[in-house]
Amino acid sequence: MSTVEQSPMDKAPVIDFDKFKPSRSHTAARKRKDFAMGLLIGLAFIVALIPLISLLWTTISNGMKRLNLNFLSYNMSGVIGGKPTPSGGYGGILHAIIGTLEITLGAMVISVPIGLMCAVYLVEYSNRSGLAKSVSLLVDVMSGIPSIVAGLFAFSMFTIIAGPGTINGFEGSVALSLLMIPTVVKSSEEMLKVVPNDLREASYALGVTKQRTITKIVLRTALPGIVSGVILAIARVIGETAPLLMTAGYIATTNMNLFSGQMTTLPVYAYQQYSTLSVTCPASAGPSCVTSIPMERAWAAALMLILIVLLLNLIGRIVAKVFAVKTER
């Protein structure tokens, strides 16, 4: 660069930068807007907390009234109106808990193998083919199926296969598994994807077959994540009401057989008690007869259900966190 040459800046027009200087009021307005939006966004969070706190609080405070050992260890047989049963309680949810556990277990037995193998197909075998793309799109779409449609599907399937009027626990399991499979597929797929490719290649290099590599290396590495995904999927379907209303039915006594007869589940129990609203007490019944007992039972069953769901969620998250695969990221 010679000193004789003119700097290109000399030709440039002189700009009065002060003209573009933000005025004090403009800056203040922008700051005000920033503050207002921050406030609104913070407020949105508080607005969302109100229903959560109110819901948990009412469920706990109303549910505690009836949730005791007697309530957990008897079913609804022999409960007449608002009168206490010979055991001293007002009926219970033993049959509903058994029904819920059996039906959910049935759903799990159906959907975990199918969901897991579907995830294996998507991650290990698909090679990004067109079929795989449509399967993974339809899994996503399937996760949006309304629960009542799942119930109608199970109901129609069983009336066609097993004859009209079939109602049993297993039918409920089929309905629930339709809702559970997409969740299992999605979570297992995520978990299989984070298994490092080095592991697979090391295994192939040793001459291990693909099936053995998948079962012994890939699935074993991803196991904690898959287990936690399955637990979260169970937590999702265990509270389903609508499909069980039409497939599993509602009875007062304990039914241990998943494959025959109606079966009560916790959510359906809570709903039935809610729709009963109240019972009438004869004048001669005395103070031990409680007219509002169905509502109290509904809240107690709801509390039990929330406890189960939250416990499952907690276990799922702990499993995911404690046994997580260490990936290089």
Binding site: C118, I148, T215
Partner: protein, 317 residues
């Protein structure tokens, strides 16, 4: 197998196992397609009397369902579809802004430690079963919200959808929409949060370096980036709201009209809640009609979810 003599047989066995395993994996993948087709086919099969059966009987069954208000299937399912869409759309409108606000709060305002805790709290909302939302809505929210709806009807009654008088108890579309809004909030929040967190860091910092305030940075960089994600998240939320049964069944006072007066009771009913409430007393033909409405619901939600997923797919490529 450690012994050398066995190695040949295990290799052969391994090959068969390989093939079987691959076959099972493929079968399970295809089973997903088959299941979805089966859902549509079984529903269609059970709803067939509606199309191929005796039409005079169908008309009689529908008239007995609706108290002589509807005379054919479409007159019956029309108001139900309208009610379903009305409830879900108003829930989405309530939920959308709050969800996006929370997602922004978690992704761009809250400190990192707090943000994970807040995500758990939002996930907690998703974990609560719908029957409990129904209980809470029917017993706690319905009496508590009446003064508010009354206030809305008094001062905003000139807007047609808020036309008074507000029903008391407010077992109305407006109250149901509030409960559904809470139920779909976690879906929209978590999906939008994930998208917002993916905003290119350089764009955000460029906006800040040019002197933008935090809100201006969000408006310039984050929201345009997350637009398609927000759209698909709200469509997924809409899909969930369309199919929700229990909360609607336990709160809404049903009716079969094309009325959009959100604050008046006994005006609308959704397909899902109608199935659950009519099902126990329906005869064989009645069940067929209900399954027919279920098929309509299935197609609507399938479409909404399909479009939402297509948008996600396009955005992620």
């Amino acid at each position: 197998m450690s012994s050398a003599s066995n190695s040949a047989t295990t290799a052969a066995g391994g090959k068969t196992a390989d093939k079987v395993f691959k076959g099972v994996a493929y079968a399970c993948g295809i089973l997903i397609l088959v299941t979805l087709a089966a859902v549509a086919l079984f529903l269609l099969f059970r709803a067939w009397p509606l199309i191929g059966g005796d039409q005079a009987q169908n008309v009689a069954a529908i008239e007995s369902f609706t108290g002589n208000k509807a005379h054919n299937f479409w007159q019956f399912v029309g108001p139900l579809m309208f009610g379903t869409v009305l409830v879900a759309a108003s829930a989405l409108i309530v939920s959308f802004f709050i969800s996006v606000g929370i997602a922004l709060f978690i992704s761009h305002y809250a400190p990192k430690r707090l943000a994970t805790a807040l995500s758990y709290v939002i996930d907690l909302l998703a974990a609560i079963p719908s029957v409990i939302y129904g209980l809470w809505g029917g017993i706690v929210l319905v009496p508590a919200v009446y003064p508010f709806w009354n206030w809305v009807a008094t001062y905003f009654g000139w807007i047609p959808i808020f036309a008074g008088p507000a029903a008391n108890p407010p077992r109305t579309v407006a109250t149901v929409a509030l409960v559904l809004a809470v139920m779909i909030l976690p879906i929209i929040t978590s999906l939008s949060r994930d998208i917002f967190l993916q905003t290119p860091r350089l764009q955000e910092e460029a906006a800040l370096a040019l002197g933008a305030t935090r809100w201006e940075m969000i408006k310039l960089a984050v929201l345009p980036f997350g637009r398609s994600g927000m759209v698909s998240a709200s469509m997924l939320g809409l899909g969930r709201a369309l199919g929700e049964t229990m909360a609607v069944l336990m709160i809404l006072s049903p009716g079969l009209t094309y009325s959009a007066h959100l604050l008046q009771a006994s005006k609308n009913q959704t397909i899902a809640a109608n199935i659950a409430s009519q099902y126990p007393e329906a005869n064989a033909l009645g069940v067929s009609i209900l399954i027919g409405t279920g098929l309509v619901l299935f197609l609507i939600t399938f479409l909404v979810n399909f479009i939402a997923r297509k948008i996600v797919e396009k955005a992620s490529v």
